[in-house]
Amino acid sequence: MKQLKVDAIKDGTVIDHIPGGKAVQVLKILGGGKEATVSIGMNLNSSKLGKKDIVKIENHELSADQVNRIAIIAPTASITIIRNYDVAEKRKVEIPGKIDNITHCPNPNCITNKEDIRTLFDRYRGADDDKTEFMCHYCERIYPADGLKIKVG
């Protein structure tokens, strides 16, 4: 099967195993970095995910905070820091305890959608630990992580 090959990078970060179609969202959630050279491979075949995306960012090593942001939309992602073509470090994605002003609240009647204010979500721990859910700090509604839309800009 023919696959798009994303070239190896000398220095930077490779974000692999992003669920298919979510690469653009991953870039959005990282914010800034507009000066970096980014290559994206989308809908590659993956035995684990079916279809996966891969993002390579040259000359930029993701911070711990950026790594955790990725967890919100791509909890399956694996992150590799590359230095001089070698794997320097592998970082695990951890689901954050808070999402501070990164996503919209899906509730149209939430104050965050009526006034120009920041959004804030806290990790919600119900009885089921396997679910990744967040509760809006304002309207207190509970949403799965992948139900939260990333703010643009």
Binding site: N109, E115, G126, C136, H137, C139, E140, R141
Partner: protein
């Protein structure tokens, strides 16, 4: 004696732990019995009812005045500059200069939380859309305490619309620390939301879900009735067929325990037959009166007037 809540606001039942709840319930009782007489002379509560609610605003108004305090009452958005396009936070920052505590009802969810972050005064949430109405849950707790002398290990039936009724959600959360046994009685599509049930399960609270109230009546210490609204039903025939199951009559409660009490957040429409009002089980009008004592406790604790 020094009295203080860890948070200086009452926004959500989620913020209150068991010691906060006990403090509020005990203070309401002490105020009703005259053991504490909070002096609110010279203090002003702004009652900002962006969404009107006569009962709730009167209850706060009465609570403040019974302690010698005064109120500024705003009903709807018409009497403020909200309509002129002033930002909500500017409105709040201005009004906080006129008063000592803010009580707010708003149709928008999270409005009270936001207000508490904008102003320097204590804020009491008197209802924010479908989200929270903590002072109702607190007066319900106080009512239950009064009728049974304890909040521990009671068998509580919540009847009616358990899906959309924020009152029953808050009450279930409020009672959870007191080892209750719940019976959730509702039509299938109006049952208690999953996340509330999950929270209860995580807290080790037992509950049973039922479609009809009759079989469980002899078990109950408290029957908390809410209205099943016709508008919730897609098929009007379903409403006609089911509504009888959620109307409490003297016949419904004939096998109730002597001490069983019926609570209702009011206003009632037809979900409790008027014939029940004269029964010793009926408690909903006393419950409304208890709301004034609880709101006295809330206002006086948050402003530091209770000494």
């Amino acid at each position: 004696m020094s009295i203080g809540l860890k948070n200086k606001h009452i926004i959500s039942m989620r913020d209150l732990d068991r010691s906060d709840l006990d403090l509020l319930v005990e203070t309401a009782g002490a105020i009703e019995e005259g053991r504490i007489k909070p002096d609110m002379a010279g203090r002003i509560a702004a009652l900002l009812f962006f969404e009107p609610s006569t009962r709730t605003s009167f209850s706060f108004d009465s609570a403040m005045k019974r302690m010698g305090g005064e109120t500024l009452l705003m009903k709807g958005t018409g009497s403020t500059s909200v309509q002129k396009g002033e930002s909500f936070s500017d409105t709040l920052r201005t009004i906080e200069r006129y008063c000592d505590i803010i009580v707010m009802r708003h149709a928008v969810e999270g409005a009270a939380r936001f207000a508490s972050e904008v102003v320097g005064l204590p804020v009491v949430n008197a209802g924010d859309g479908a989200n929270q109405h903590p002072t109702q849950a607190l007066l319900d707790l106080y009512s239950i305490k009064k009728t049974h002398g304890t909040l521990e290990k009671l068998k509580i039936g919540l009847v009616g619309d358990l899906r959309f009724g924020r009152t029953v959600h808050s009450l279930a959360q409020a009672l959870a620390p007191y080892n209750p046994e719940f019976y959730f009685i509702s039509p299938g599509f109006l049952e208690m939301p999953e996340h509330i049930k999950a929270e209860l399960t995580a807290g080790g609270v037992k509950y049973t879900e039922l479609k009809e109230v009759d079989s469980v009546v002899p078990e109950l210490d408290i029957m908390y009735v809410t209205r099943v609204q016709r508008e919730r039903f897609a098929d009007p025939e379903d409403y006609e067929r089911l509504k009888g199951s959620y109307i409490i009559t003297l016949d419904t409660i004939k096998d109730a325990k002597e001490g069983m009490r019926i609570l209702h957040p009011l206003p009632r429409v037809d979900e409790i037959a008027e014939e029940v009002d004269a029964s010793p089980h009926a408690y909903y009008f006393e419950q409304a009166e208890n709301g004034v004592y609880m709101r006295q406790a809330i206002l006086s604790i948050l402003t530091g007037a209770v000494k």
